[in-house]
Amino acid sequence: MSLPGRRDTGAPAAVTTGPPGREAWKNGRTGSAPGQGAAESQVDPGAEALRAAAAAIDWYHTIDLGHGVVTEGLVDHRPQLDSYHLPESLRGMRCLDVASMDGFWSFELERRGADEVVAIDVARRSDLDLPYGVREEIIRSGQDGPATAGFEFAHRALESKVDKKIVSVYELSPERVGQFDLVFLSDLLLHLRDPQTALDHVRSVCRGVAYVADVCHPDLETGDSTCLAEYPTWVPGEYVWWRMNANTIGSMLLEAGFDTVDELSRFRLNVPGAKPESLPAKVVFRASVGSAARSAGSRPMQAVR
C-alpha cells in the first residue's frame, strides 16, 4: 500500500492543517471549499491526502498520525494514558503489545523509547474466539475479513519500526516470540473464552512486568476477595465471553504464575460520543515476574460506579 500522506499528490490543498486532535480531524473531514480557508499559506500538501485515506478506514483506536491528522477511532486512550502508569521511558526494554488492533499501544510503547516492540494479533475475524457455528457461518457467507483495519496504515504513517506478527494470544510461547521485559494487554480478556489459558501464555513470554488493563464489572464487586464473573448473553455484533470483577482478573494473573500483582487504577474507558452510563469500567494491573516483582506503588482499590 502506498501511503498518500507520504507522497506529493500535486493536488491543490483544500484544507487547512489544524492542530492535532479530534476537532482538527472533524474539520478536515467535513472539508471547506477551496479558498475559504483562512490560512491557505500554511497548508501541508500531504495532510489532506493522508486524512482522506485515513477516513476510508474503520478505526478502533484514535491515533495521532502526524500532519494534524488524528484517526476517528471508537476509543480514545490518549486522555487516559496516565491511568495506565506505564514507565515514562522504556529504553533498553523489549516490549510486547498483545492483540494490538490498530496499534495505538504499540506505537505508544515505541514512542516511549522501547528498544524493540512486537505487536501480535489474529489475522482474520474468523480467528477470534467465536460461538459454535459462527466461524463457519462467517466464512461461508463471505463476511470474513482482516481483523484489524488500520495497523498497517498507521505503521506507515508513523514510520514505525514495530514488528507486527500474526500470533494468537493462545499461541504465545518463548519459542515463538521470545521473552519480553514489558507485556501490554488491554481490553482483550473479555473477548476470550478461556482467559486463564491466555494469561498463562502471556506469563510464559514475560520476564519482567505485564500491564493488564481490562474491562471489569463494577456490579460484581463485593468488597471482599470474592472472584465473580457474569456470563453474558450475546449482544449482536460483539462477542463478549466473561465480564469479570477485578478480583477475578487479579487472581487469574496470580494463577498464571506472576509473582506479584498490583492494582494500579480503575476508571471508565473513554469512548467519544457514548453515553456516560454505558462506558465500560476498566481496571489496570501490573503483574511482575522474578526480580521485577516488587510491590512498588500499589494503589488502593477504587470503586467505579
Binding site: L74, S186, L228, G237, E238, V271
Partner: protein, 293 residues
C-alpha cells in the same frame, strides 16, 4: 425457533473488538418448560469395602470372586454389577435414576457418555437397549474399574480413550443421546466442552452438573465464581450452565431436577436437558449487519 433466539445470532457486523457496549445487556430469561424435581440425597454409608484387599497381581484373574475384584479398585460410580454386588462408588446415580429423564427405551439409538468414570451411564443406556454405546473415558484415566464392571455385566459398551475436546463427527460419529456428568465445573473452558459435544449430538443431551447455590436468586443473571484453588475452573449458577448450552447451539433447554447430595458434602447439582438447534442460526448477510455505535 423463537424470534429472540434468532436475534442472538445476528452476526458479524462492524465488530469492535475490545469494547463492550452497551453495558446493560439484554439478558435472556431461563425458564424451565417443566417443573424441575427437587431431590435430597441423605448421607449414608456406602457399601463396606471387603476386609482384605487382594494384591494387584490377583486382580486380573477372572476366577477371583466378583466381590473381591470390585473391592480391589477405587470406584467413582456405584454400579450394580450383579450377583448382589454394588460397586462402592462416591456417586450413586441409581437412586432417583428417573430424575435424569433418560428414555426407558433406547432401541435403535446410538449413545455417548462423555468423560465416563466407571461407566454408570454407559451401562444404564445399554440396559435400556441402546443399539450402540460409546463410553468416552479420559485419555489417561483409570480403566480398571470400568473393565471389571463391563465384564461382570457382559456389556458390549465400547470404551474410547478420547479427550472431550477431540470429539468430532469425523472421529466419533454422531449420537442420539449424550450424557455429560460432572465435567463442566472442573475445566477452564466449559463452553468449549459443550461446543464439541454439540458437534456430535444429533438427538438430545443430558447435563448433570454441580451449581453454586450462593449464586442463585439473582434473577436472570448468569453468574460464575472463579476458582483459583481448583485450577482456574468456574463454579456456575444454573443460568450460566443453561446459557452455555444455548451458546453451544442447543435449544429447548429444560431444567429437569436439582439434587442436594448430603453424601457428597452437600453438593448441589442440576440436571438439564436440551436438543440441538437445527434451525438456521443466522439471518442472511444483509440483515446481519448491526451498528453498535
Amino acid at each position: 425457533m423463537s424470534g429472540p433466539r434468532r436475534e442472538r445470532w445476528l452476526g458479524f457486523g462492524p465488530v469492535k473488538i475490545g469494547i463492550s457496549l452497551p453495558f446493560a445487556v439484554d439478558r435472556r430469561v431461563f425458564r424451565s418448560s417443566s417443573r424441575p424435581v427437587a431431590i435430597a440425597i441423605p448421607a449414608e454409608a456406602s457399601e463396606p469395602l471387603p476386609a482384605r484387599r487382594p494384591a494387584p497381581s490377583e486382580l486380573d484373574r477372572a476366577d477371583r470372586p466378583l466381590r473381591d475384584r470390585v473391592g480391589a479398585v477405587r470406584w467413582f460410580d456405584s454400579i450394580d454389577v450383579g450377583d448382589g454386588v454394588v460397586t462402592p462408588g462416591v456417586v450413586d446415580r441409581r437412586r432417583h435414576v428417573e430424575a435424569y429423564d433418560i428414555p426407558p427405551q433406547l432401541t435403535g439409538k446410538r449413545c455417548l457418555e462423555v468423560t465416563a468414570h466407571d461407566g454408570f451411564w454407559s451401562f444404564e443406556m445399554e440396559r435400556r437397549h441402546a443399539s450402540a454405546v460409546v463410553s468416552a473415558g479420559l485419555p489417561n484415566g483409570p480403566d480398571a474399574a470400568f473393565a471389571i464392571a463391563r465384564e461382570a455385566l457382559g456389556s458390549s459398551v465400547a470404551r474410547e480413550r478420547i479427550s472431550v475436546l477431540d470429539l468430532s463427527p469425523e472421529l466419533t460419529g454422531t449420537f442420539d443421546l449424550v450424557v455429560v456428568d460432572g465435567l463442566l465445573g472442573v475445566v477452564r473452558d466449559p463452553q468449549r466442552v459443550l461446543d464439541r459435544v454439540r458437534s456430535v449430538c444429533r438427538g438430545s443431551i443430558r447435563v448433570i452438573e454441580a451449581f453454586d447455590p450462593s449464586l442463585e436468586g439473582y434473577g436472570e443473571a448468569c453468574l460464575a465464581g472463579y476458582r483459583r484453588a481448583h485450577g482456574g475452573s468456574w463454579s456456575m449458577n444454573v443460568n450460566t450452565i443453561a446459557q452455555m448450552l444455548r451458546v453451544a447451539g442447543f435449544a429447548r433447554v429444560t431444567e429437569l431436577a436439582r439434587i442436594f447430595d448430603a453424601a457428597r458434602s452437600g453438593r448441589t447439582e442440576v440436571v438439564l436437558g436440551a436438543e440441538p438447534d437445527e434451525s438456521e442460526r443466522m439471518l442472511e448477510p444483509s440483515k446481519r449487519l448491526i451498528e453498535i455505535r
